[in-house]
């Protein structure tokens, strides 16, 4: 990878800071993808530690391992971290690495913007977690229900929830910019012949997700900005005693929040749709159904948000309507499940780690889907809302669904990303530990919820029948922790002495397997002719064995009169993305203290925004030059 266009000063030997500088200034989608994934794994571990602490607290009745306040902080940070700093960026990272390869492009449509997305994600994560050191961690839940969150979180007069508000907005900017990039890349940089209906299903899923992001994030932006005003400037959008409306918060939040759960799960659907055909040695069954059901889910996802609010008193008509739309969503979801099963059916299955995770995904996700349908019925929801039943539901879809699919994707694409295989033996060990641990942790939650154990509560009385299963859940959580450690061990060992992967270790179908592992900076020297949905398969087993030149990312975006010949031009590295992200984060720190130290805070905001402007100017001039 050291052969990028990066002009490395020839000062004798290469020092570590040369490498570091290369990564800091990189605009290569593959490196950015790897940075996303590595950072997100770190946050995944961090969020996992939060969860372990929560589970230790709940292992016994009337435990005092954590104080109620710390418990609130941990479940808030656990949820926020897992949603915004683990699963979303893991998906974004896989998308970044794989999408340009899958559509046969040299890079993303806006490489510098891509780097900016990553730096904003990293800085947003650091910002959020710096609350542990220089303030109080947010403590009003990942849903930040107002007026609890508007009054200063659970502990009045701390800026805990300001960390949350500002952090979420930095991450929101990152996600929106990233999604614009995905949309434009998929729309505009497809290789010749890569029509929409030949696009890999992972690309379809990520495309729908990108639209979900750009249409749903503005809602949480507005909600959180209004919350910030309530908290710091004396407005009362969400304060009922002064005319505000807590329900408004819930509507704005869940209008974002429900699409968000599909933002988390659709990439998983995409990964599964790639893995099943390859490991069944068959084309995917019902390609069009899977592609269009993603679109349908995307649409319907915007019509169901108030199923999170059945018990707040919207009235029977609203409840019935949102119940109906929620039930409708299970139709396109079911369509996918049957297509996946039909893909496996009669295939000659190649039972490797990715397929283990894939099959388990179906099993676990269906359980989560069924409890989802149950919760979508208001009478049942009245009984189970705010109990552990809901916690069971969403962990089956998020852990059993999203995380299992992401691990499937890791085992599948890791060889392409790093050129070496992950160990199958460790992979299978990891799989069984995770599968058993996952079920042990989350299955009893359904039962506990049914018998009345409330969620978001730091402890429970003894003698209610909660003890045994809570202890089991804690043991399950430790198994998951062990399993994740095995994965990290596997990754490290693979870097050192994993088996060399070769270009196409799984006998793949899609374009990423047509180049080297890892791919060169420009991705492809030449592309197979794309006449079907499985160009690499055609290349290996079909008649069509032609090559074409890949599309030039730069030429597609350029506006020059004299068109550069279709040689490959990659944009030079740039340090403006990290500078811009730094400026924005600095402004956010300023806003954090706006109500306690106005002067310094204003200075930080002005300096931060000036840095942002300088960086924008720098980026614009670089864009004009290439």
């Amino acid at each position: 990878m050291a052969t990028t266009a990066v002009p490395i000063p020839q000062v004798g030997e290469r020092r570590w800071w040369h490498t570091a500088w290369e990564w800091i200034t990189t605009v290569d989608h593959k490196r950015i993808g790897i940075m996303y994934i590595v950072t997100a794994i770190a946050f995944f571990v961090w969020g996992g530690i939060d969860a372990l602490l929560i589970r230790i607290q709940l292992a016994q009745a009337e435990n005092t391992f954590l104080s109620p306040q710390v418990y609130n902080e941990l479940f808030t940070m656990h949820g926020t971290t897992m949603v915004f700093l683990a699963i979303m960026p893991l998906n974004a990272g896989l998308g970044n690495f794989i999408i340009p390869l899958m559509v046969g492009a040299n890079d993303m449509a806006y490489p510098r913007l891509n780097a900016l997305g990553f730096w904003l994600f990293l800085f947003g994560g650091i910002f959020l977690n710096s609350s542990y050191l220089i303030g109080h961690p947010p403590d009003a839940g990942w849903f930040a229900y107002a007026p609890l969150s508007a009054n200063g979180g659970v502990m009045p007069k701390t800026n805990a929830m300001d960390f949350w508000v500002l952090g979420i907005n930095i991450l929101g900017v990152s996600s929106i910019l990233g999604s614009i990039n995905f949309i434009v890349t998929v729309f505009n940089l497809r290789a010749p012949g890569m029509k929409f209906n030949r696009m890999p299903l992972f690309v379809w899923a990520q495309l729908v997700v990108a639209f979900l992001v750009i249409f749903s994030f503005p809602s949480i932006t507005v909600a959180s900005v209004l919350l910030y005003f309530d908290r710091n400037f004396g407005t009362a959008f969400f304060l009922p005693e002064r005319g505000g409306d807590p329900m408004l918060w819930q509507h704005l939040f869940w209008f974002f929040g429900h699409p968000e759960v599909y933002i988390l799960i659709l990439p998983a659907f995409g990964i599964i749709s790639e893995i099943f055909p390859v490991f069944s040695r068959k084309p995917i069954f019902g390609y069009a159904f899977i592609a269009y059901s993603s679109v349908a889910i995307g649409f319907l996802g915007f019509t169901v948000w108030a199923h999170h609010m059945f018990s707040v008193g919207m009235g029977p008509w609203a409840n019935a309507a949102f119940s109906a739309t929620s039930l409708m969503i299970s139709i396109p979801t079911g369509v996918k499940i049957f297509n996946w099963l039909a893909t496996l059916w009669g295939g000659s299955l190649n039972f490797k780690t990715p397929l283990y995770y894939g099959v388990a995904f179906i099993f676990l996700f269906v359980i989560g889907g069924i409890t989802g349908v149950m919760l979508a019925l208001p009478p049942l929801d009245y009984q189970t809302t705010d109990t552990y039943f809901v916690v069971g539901h969403f962990h089956y879809v998020l852990f059993g669904g999203a995380i299992f699919a992401i691990f499937a994707g890791f085992y599948y694409w890791w060889p392409k990303m790093f050129g070496r295989m992950l160990s199958e033996r460790l992979g299978i060990w990891q799989f069984w530990l995770m599968f058993i641990g996952m079920n042990l942790t989350f299955m009893p939650m359904h039962y506990l919820g049914m018998i009345g154990m409330p969620r978001r509560t730091w402890t429970y009385d003894s003698g209610l029948g909660f003890e045994f299963w809570n202890l089991m859940e804690t043991i399950g959580a430790l198994m998951i922790a062990l399993s994740v450690s095995i994965f990290i061990l596997n990754a490290i060992l693979s870097r050192r002495n994993g088996e060399i992967a070769g270009n196409d270790p799984w006998d793949g179908h899609t374009l990423e397997w047509a180049t080297t592992s890892p791919p060169p900076p420009h991705n492809f020297d030449s592309l197979p002719v794309i006449r079907t949905r499985r160009p690499v398969w055609d290349l290996k087993y079909g008649e069509a064995q032609h090559f074409t030149k890949p599309r030039d990312a730069k030429a597609a975006g350029s506006t020059d009169e004299e068109h550069t010949p279709p040689s490959i031009h990659l944009p030079p590295p740039s340090f403006y993305p990290i500078v811009l992200a730094f400026g924005l984060t600095m402004a956010a720190y300023g806003l954090l203290y706006s109500s306690v130290a106005f002067g310094p805070s204003l200075t930080a905001i002005i300096v931060g925004i000036s840095i942002v402007f300088v960086a924008i100017a720098g980026l614009a001039s670089e864009a004009a030059r290439d």
């Binding site: 949309i183 729309f187 505009n188 503005p218 599309r551």
Partner: protein, 258 residues
Amino acid sequence: MAQAVAHDQKEHAAGAAHGHGGHHPPTSLGVNTRKLGLWTFISSEAIFFTALISTYLVLKPRNLALGGPVPEDFLGITLTAILAFILLMSSLTMVLALNAVEHNDRRGTHLWLGATILLGLMFLGGQTYEFNKLWSEGFHTVTITKQDGKIEQIGVAEHHLEAELEHLHEEYPGAQIQQGPRKPVTWTTSIFGSTFFTLTGFHGTHVGIGVIWLSIVLAMSLRGAISSRNSLTVEMAGLYWHFVDLVWVAIFTLIYLI
């Protein structure tokens, strides 16, 4: 999709010649990459303003029920209509500017870009004036305790107060009528103020960004860096500008007229 397919074939036919004159280099969709990105961004912004406008509309009845200021007493239609007219005119001048660029008409480009910027500034000036006016005007929350013990609150503009009190005494004979202290219409004194200033403030900020963007384009043009070859630079700023105008049309209709 049919379009994309058709384009694909055209592109194959065009081969290395890259078809249509380099101005719009080939992309899978046939739309310029930067323009597509801006469109995507704008669609996201549309949701942003939809959420803000919804917030205004949802909270409006609560504002009235708690004796907040009645919007009609404070929002002068005349001024806003003028502002709306100014912005719509600026959309027109923006179109003329782009047309001038495409015809390599340097003077026209400068003229119309300048006019657009000026109209934008006039809009911002008008908004500042309106904000100021609101801040300096007051309202009172009048509490009516009726004989059957029911309590009602209404917000009354300072300039109506006397007439309104008289009217209330007539309408509810025997009711106890209490007049609250004078409060200016600011961001924090009522839900109306909070929602109104937030919404129009965010819109005004967008206008401001548009003015800065257009000024940069104008500066480039004055240095001779803009011609029909890179008219896209002007077109992009224009797209954004038209969007900001359109948002004002929505705000004008939903907030001022209804």
